[in-house]
Point group: C2
Chain length 182, copies 2
DNA sequence: CAAATGCTGGACGTTGTGTACGATTATGGA
DNA sequence: TCCATAATCGTACACAACGTCCAGCATTTG
């Protein structure tokens, strides 16, 4: 059985970390800050995580699961790139967090984590459409890269447009790019 | 007139910095390392640059100029997205440096700098094609994001394909995406 | 040549990191 | 309920890197 103290401590640290990231950005947050905000001894922190980055990476596991879970299970051939709208909506719903993550260095880690998830999703969607491995992988990188670029640009600009608008624009540019294979 | 000592010192520091980045990655390089490699006193470093990041940013100015200069002056309507091939070729020619820059945190700064340059180029290319500012800006972000994603993926994988192959794949995906406006 | 400017190297204080350890407290199983 | 176990705490320590300062020496420019 999992000791309650462990669960409690780790949860407190993760929460504190996220709050502080939103408050002053990933880089400016120190391990000491996190411990203070979480009311946890600094030595306890190191009993659970080897560094701030370790904490961050493990925290992203939850995000990954949430993103993967929110995706439609079966790939419907008529609606490919289905991840787009849910993703825009999820970002919009958690906008403060996403904005804090999207900028600054810590964002790199977070974005790379999201990139991983999306790559898997897109890869799965494209396997039927593009049997050639090299071409498919290129398209995966391209589509996810373009998507994340517009996502972060949107967030940086304050997310003025609606998730629907963003999705529509993305679908238009991306779907056409796959025309030859459709 | 610019004091020779100043030019000499700054050049030494920039060169040393690049060598060290290639050698052990941006993050692992300290100001002291740079000074040691350049045979320059640490206090002298701070007389010229306020931090390692300052040094890095200012060093990227040269890269920006080179990239901008290598682009065709006039936008030819029949060959849009002309930046792609020269860019792949430039990266291929300076592959050790690009690979070092593309990974790790320091890469973020470098990539963002390149992103800026490319955004300007693409924006210029698309102004005629897409009069609507919002649609155009979206496309700019998308195309440059997709391009940089495949560029860094290519570099990370050891740049097995030729710049020409990469360009061809990119042109296909990207040009088709602009079909509606062509 | 002389004044101005740049370089040196070392000292100093600061901040944040990661480790160690004994004392204290909470937990889960017997 | 009780107790062995395990988690937490606080503090102290060593360390790495940062950024600042200054007095003395070297080089450049006019």
């Amino acid at each position: 059985m999992v000791d309650r103290r462990v669960a409690r401590t780790q949860a407190l640290l993760q929460r504190a970390h996220l709050s502080l990231i939103v408050e002053k950005g990933y880089d400016a947050v120190t391990v000491e800050d996190i411990c203070a905000a979480a009311n946890v001894g600094r030595s306890t922190f190191y009993a659970h995580f080897s560094s701030k980055e370790d904490l961050h990476r493990r925290g992203l596991g939850a995000l990954r699961q949430e993103l993967s879970a929110n995706q439609p299970a079966g790939v419907e051939p008529d609606h490919i790139l289905a991840f787009s709208l849910p993703m825009f909506e999820h970002a919009h719903a958690h906008i403060e967090l996403y904005r804090a993550l999207a900028s600054s260095r810590g964002g790199t880690i977070a974005i790379e984590s999201i990139r991983d998830v999306l790559r898997d999703l897109v890869r799965a969607e494209l396997t039927r459409l593009m049997p050639d491995r090299a071409a498919r992988e290129f398209a995966v990188q391209y589509l996810v890269g373009g998507f994340l670029a517009v996502l972060t640009w949107w967030l940086d600009g304050g997310a003025r447009s609606s998730p629907q608008e963003m999705d529509a624009r993305f679908q238009r540019l991306a779907q056409e790019g796959l025309r030859g294979w459709t």
